[in-house]
Amino acid sequence: MTTITGTAETATITPKRRSALGMLGHQVRFDLLIMARDRSARFFTLGLPVLMLVLFVAIFGTGYVGPYGHSMRASTYYVATQVVFGVVGAGFMTLMNILVIRRQAGLYKRRRATPVPAWAIVVSQAILGLVGAVGIAGLLLAIGALAFSVTVPPGSLAALAVDIAVGALSFCCLGFAVASLVRTETAAQPVSMGLALPLFFISGVFIPWDLIPTWMRGVASVFPVRPFAAAVLAVFGGSTGVWRPVDLLVVGAWGLAALALSARRLAWSPYT
């Protein structure tokens, strides 16, 4: 241990030991700064879902979608489904791209050469996805309330918060899992698009659910996007209750399976 002897008196100053939590916060600060300066991440995380919401409401705004026992205003439907688009986009698509690009650039390998604990590196990256997901969900809800008079009943806020938390965590885990399977940074964007876009379409995120063929709905229900969308829609009056525990369980099961896979395949070094 290095000691520095003071000049005025013989006090010895030992260097302050960095706590793991302190290092985590330090990383998150810089990583958020990086994400904030990254035009592509900014557009895909924040700009695109807002653009989609505005477009969908402009196209379907005066109409109603259904059937949910009762029909739902299109603006309400698209605030709910674009929250889903935003959370999946930030938690899964953007995070997965960041993970692959940084791994292939050797950044994680370099951070592993420092005393920062491995778990703090992983958690700091997951926080990027979670912050993006929660941030875009909040932004879309605010735009929905201010511009389209779409509000969440106060009694449903807890359910919405749980939905978004389960969705954001699970899709972050899926981001880690798929990132571990993608070998090159050029493949990251096409793979995330190729996986997510069809699911958005068949899960009623872009096209109203009642227009999706029945067999396709069955397929969609197996994957995590549809159950997540159903849970969020319930909060906005899309079903009889605001809680959808079975749907959340399906989303969470995907998340846990993804977590198990990523834990097994976690790689710090670039794939060659």
Binding site: R18, H26, Q27, G106, K109, A113
Partner: protein, 293 residues
Amino acid sequence: MGYAGLEVVRGVTLAVNRGEIFALLGPNGAGKTTTVEILEGYRRRTAGEVEVLGEDPAQAGPAWRGRVGVVLQSCQPEHELTVAETVALYAGFYDAPLPVAEVLALVGLTAEAKIRNSRLSGGQQRRLDVGLALVGDPELVFLDEPTTGFDPAARRAAWEVIAGLRARGKTIFLTTHYLEEAEFLADRIAVMVAGQIVAEGTSASLGDRHRSRTEIRIGLQAPPVLADLPPLSGQPAWEAGELVLAAADPLRDLNLLTGWLLTQGLGVEAISVRQPSLEEVYLRLTAPAETVS
């Protein structure tokens, strides 16, 4: 004082002394990066014992990593950060980091402090890599092919930085496939070919270079009668207008030869006396035929 003792697999023992620059030299694909990654703790070895700074790198924890700096063979910096921000990010991982300004001065990037990493040249990025390895004030620094792809000026500048680390008392473990890099920087060199250490020593003694025979070459206008030459320490030969001798006793042979040439009246065009170059030693050590034997 002690050792930063390093034992490397394949039955070869390497000991790197504290405060020296040690170069692992070898052609591409020789196993240099594999070796250095075992020493850095990135790769698990299949057999043998490795000890770096008194610990097994495969088991070492954060305290050990705080004493070791690593410059990876290929690693891009965070593009969206400035040079100073990047150093500050990595400084936050160490208990007693060097001040950011000191690190920037050390690697010659003070003027670039506020520039985004994406705007740095390849040489500047590499110097930043070195800076990030030094920010924790490590005792031991691994540099894996630090100047591959550099132009000659950038390479020279990087060498000055690395030589400056020795002046600060750091132990340096360097891998390179550039012979002149090892010769310029290293106190000791080990040559690795096909996963084996084939020679080890200083640049002067590598491959028994210091014990090799000195080559004397004398360019003549006409071939001499070799049988008439005085008795020499080696067997003289006539090659393409030159009298060539691998001399065990070069001073005496040169004296005898020049004296004899004066009496013969043969026109002497050039005389050269030389040790085999490090390059010749290296090429001999890394020649494919040598690896088979």
